[in-house]
Symmetry: C2
């Protein structure tokens, strides 16, 4: 169950699929020179392969445990996390003036894909820390920032997000956890939170929780929720750790996958909390870090897909069964056309999804907020759905061995299934895309993106042996344009009923077009990997992008086929 990240492919898409020059010109980042990027990717790849990947299976087989009031992480996780902190990996995309490497988000996407692939469950811990850092930086008082951020930035303390309650999941309006003003600048937080990822553990000295709670006289619903910072361990004035705060994990979920990630039920018994941002503006504060978190869940999907792909490839290269056409006896199953098809299909689709992640991060780096907002739900949903389908295909390549846990293929399949659910289900993403991102500017940003990609078609056509990609782009972009008009002109219910299909269509076309564009640029620059990347781009154009056409039919149909069947009869007919 070894794993080596595909550094060449990731580096290729980063160099030719994003505009590192423009990102550099913003002056906000350490200049991402080819040498520096190369060194970072190589270093991250080696760390992922040598330090984190070997802990992945152990985490699955030996989930985190609750002992008394403390969660004990899976064997080897504490050491693997400490090595991550010592290697400075938490700081990749943090500004230099606060001790970070100051690299753009596109580089962080590349690094995090490797980390998530090597150990998805452990990778959630720094991902949550990063989200908490974002929210604290944007909204907390200077004093809170001074007390908590340095340790969190270094990864010495980790972050956790306490949003969900049993009755408040996708809709946080009904949050009931209470906050009482202590009159001394602090608040007493009381209530129960569920699904708290890495809510407690022994990998770091402190866990900084951001908790949504309601003040007594606040309005009902989502406009009456405030955000509070609750440290697991109180922090003394000199920065040393004091007593434990009045909250604790009281249960761990027994989950389908990511067993190494402790998913806590947290009980707050008048815990001391510090207000972050304004009273009753808690949800808005949380949304600050939502884009980044959603981007990284899309990247997780790609990551778990890549890990599953590599496992399937290793198996297909070793396993001998039957004689593939045109081969000698003893040839491994990778030579069977249908096995090869599965592998190339996984590989090519992952490239398209990877490009969606890079494009979203690039938009963030360039402060193109509308573009970032448009691409984020597409990246999150498509990447996470693809992670599940690729992990499923990887099980299939293993045959019977895939269904037996000991090969590890099943773990990837189980782990992958969370990504379409958390950080906003993929249904929520589709609603966000259609109901908010598309409608609020009348489709302007989507049309701008379609226009940019249309402008790129000629370059793809002229790059040599990418004709099929240019044709697929033209046809796909036409389909996306038509679908966009339909959705924009639809009633609310019609638009919502086809939102997921529209998102999927957009992902196929945009991901495929960005991929082809990146390959064309790589060819023009004489990149040594361009020929092989071009073979994948052609596969994507011929066998992946055409699915968009069938989706257009579904979009045209609107809500009628979805609601024509009476609800009362759904259990039978």
């Amino acid at each position: 169950m070894s794993f080596t990240p595909p550094v060449n492919a990731i580096g290729f898409l980063l160099r030719h699929g994003t505009d590192l020059g423009a990102i550099s010109e913003t002056g906000r980042f350490e200049e991402p020179s080819d040498d520096l990027v190369g060194a970072i990717l190589t270093g991250a790849s080696e760390f992922a392969r040598d330090v984190w990947a070997p802990t992945n299976w152990e985490g699955d087989q030996n989930p985190a445990k609750l002992e008394g009031d403390d969660v004990i992480a899976s064997p080897g996780f504490k050491e693997a996390y400490q090595a991550f902190v010592e290697g400075g990996w938490q700081t990749v995309s943090l500004p230099q003036d606060i001790g970070g490497m100051g690299l753009p988000s596109v580089v962080s996407v590349a690094v995090n894909e490797m980390l998530y692939a090597s150990n998805m469950a452990l990778g959630l811990c720094p991902m949550l820390t990063s989200s908490a850092v974002q929210a604290i930086k944007a909204h907390a008082s200077p004093e809170l920032q001074e007390t908590y951020l340095p340790k969190m930035l270094a990864g010495e303390w980790t972050g956790a997000m306490c949003l969900t309650e049993p009755q408040a999941g996708s809709d946080l309006g009904p949050v009931r956890t209470k906050a009482m003003d202590n009159g001394d600048g602090t608040y007493a937080i009381t209530g129960q939170k569920i699904y708290i990822t890495w809510g407690d553990h022994d990998c770091a000295d402190n866990v900084i929780h951001l908790v949504l709670a309601r003040l007594p006289d606040s309005p009902e619903g989502s406009r009456g929720i405030s955000l509070f910072l609750c440290p697991k361990m109180h922090v003394n004035d000199d920065g040393s750790l004091g007593e434990r705060n009045d909250f604790k994990p009281i249960g761990l979920e027994h989950k389908l996958g990511i067993h190494g990630s402790p998913t806590c039920v947290m009980e707050f018994n008048g815990a001391t909390g510090y207000l972050v941002g304004e009273v009753n503006r808690g949800l808005a504060c949380m949304f600050t870090m939502m884009n980044e978190a959603r981007l990284f869940v899309g990247v997780q999907g790609v990551a778990i897909g890549e890990r599953a792909y590599q496992a399937a490839l290793q198996y297909a290269n070793d396993r001998v069964q039957g004689v593939p056409p045109g081969q000698e006896p003893g040839a491994p199953i990778v030579e069977h056309p249908d096995v090869r098809r599965m592998l190339i299909d996984m590989k090519a689709k992952l490239m398209g999804a990877r490009m969606l992640g890079f494009a979203t991060a690039e938009a963030a780096d360039l402060h193109r907020h509308k573009r970032e907002g448009l691409l984020t739900p597409i990246c999150k949903s498509y990447g996470s759905d693809l992670g599940v389908s690729v992990a499923s295909t990887a099980v299939q390549v293993h045959g019977g061995m895939g269904f037996v846990e000991e090969t590890g293929a099943a773990q990837h399949f189980r782990d992958s299934r969370i990504a379409p659910i958390y950080e906003g289900t993929n249904g929520i993403q589709a609603i966000d895309l259609v109901g908010r991102k598309l409608k609020r500017d009348g489709g302007e940003e989507m049309r701008a993106l379609i226009g940019e990609l249309r402008d790129a078609v000629e370059g793809v056509r002229n790059a040599g042996d990418l004709d099929v990609c240019a044709r697929a782009m033209e046809q796909g972009l036409e389909t996306l344009s038509t679908a966009t008009d339909i959705v924009l002109n639809a009633t609310e219910v019609d638009a919502l009923a086809v939102a997921s299909t529209y998102l999927d269509l957009a992902a196929h076309v945009i991901g495929g077009s960005l991929f082809a564009k990146a390959v064309a640029r790589g060819k023009q620059s004489g990149d040594a990997h361009a020929a092989n990347m071009a073979a994948l781009a052609r596969y994507h154009a011929l066998r992946v992008m055409p699915a968009a056409d069938g989706m257009l039919e579904a979009i045209r149909a609107g809500a009628d086929p979805v609601f024509a069947f009476p609800r009362a009869q759904l259990a039978d007919v």
Copy 2:
């Protein structure tokens, strides 16, 4: 985690989607009158709901155990299996002259879907018995038949198939298990077999194994394999049970799903075996029952999908989150357009897959062997793949609760994943369809089927409010016809590289067309459920069948995009 089979939907498709009249006219079955069929379906449904379904979760949480040389089934399974035997459910499709109910295979498909849905792991036990019975009936000597069949037919003894060895899975040619002639009409079997479903257990008094093994002077490869019957317990001349035979389970696999089904490693230490069929013709004997087994794995996919669907529906009817458009606060999430879309999508697709199962069984009942052979791989692959995707969507409907094991949604997702693998992986099915079923008659049977479905278009169009179905049939059948020509004229490698895609295309079109045809007939006969079934058929026509067009593009592309990327670089680029 209650489960009630959708008797109305299953009954509708059975009555209007199969030709029970023609089946009756063969004279080989008890006349399947509406009353009888209705009584059987109701009885099976109640048994599935009340007796088997409550044991499903227990089997997942408490897998079968190996204690010494004996496998102890999951808690409650022995009682559930005994109730199955006492209810006579093993005998549904067995001829009356040997104590069966003498009902056609189409009825057995309906009954088995309910049983598999209620407990897939337990359902495998009678499925294996049925397969073993088929092989023994077709190939064993009268003495063997007399000794073993009556008890097996009743379900008092169960069957097991010992085919796979570590180096011999999809390709059984390399089987190494040895058979030595004892000179007294018996053979001594020695070797190790893996993945033996229900290879040992305590639910019945005896387990009758059919074992592939090689005689010392047999040719190498698949033409040197013979089939042997090895009873777990020797049977005395008076029919009573004697000593235990010299083979035993030495391990149980730790699997992703179907934990209640013991998957055994079996060790044969000179076990007494009886030759079944001719020497060196063992593989041919096994293929006798392959069609039926593959049909029933397709049905399993539908079954686990239906179970997952019902769980998702129950959750969606209960869970309140956000206010769906046009609804009051407190409306459950089933009213959210994207949730309703997921539910209707699952439900409609299951109908298409169900029709593929009924059509395959109907062909068997009518002795239309070429039709049965053509449809079997399509039914097996599409049904089993759909089971996985529907179970995945059902997890998604549950949101975070879907990823937590206690809801049971995750179990269905895990259980479902085996069906695309066993009884010939879906890749093998596609090879069988394209390389054997399609090519051996130059596409004649496929063209005949396309012709029959084209002839049905007019009836669908005239049935009222099924216009969209008629159009989808016309377009889909044209697409299938074109794809068939392409595959028939392709080189071997081209055909094999697109075989899975061709199968998927055929399943979409044939399943959708058969479904529309059944609904049209139901409408014409005034069936009370026809209006709701028509709503599902329209959904299928508008949102499922159009996917076939995108697949045609992939089929046109042939093997080139699959093999253009160099094998040596598959790990990266």
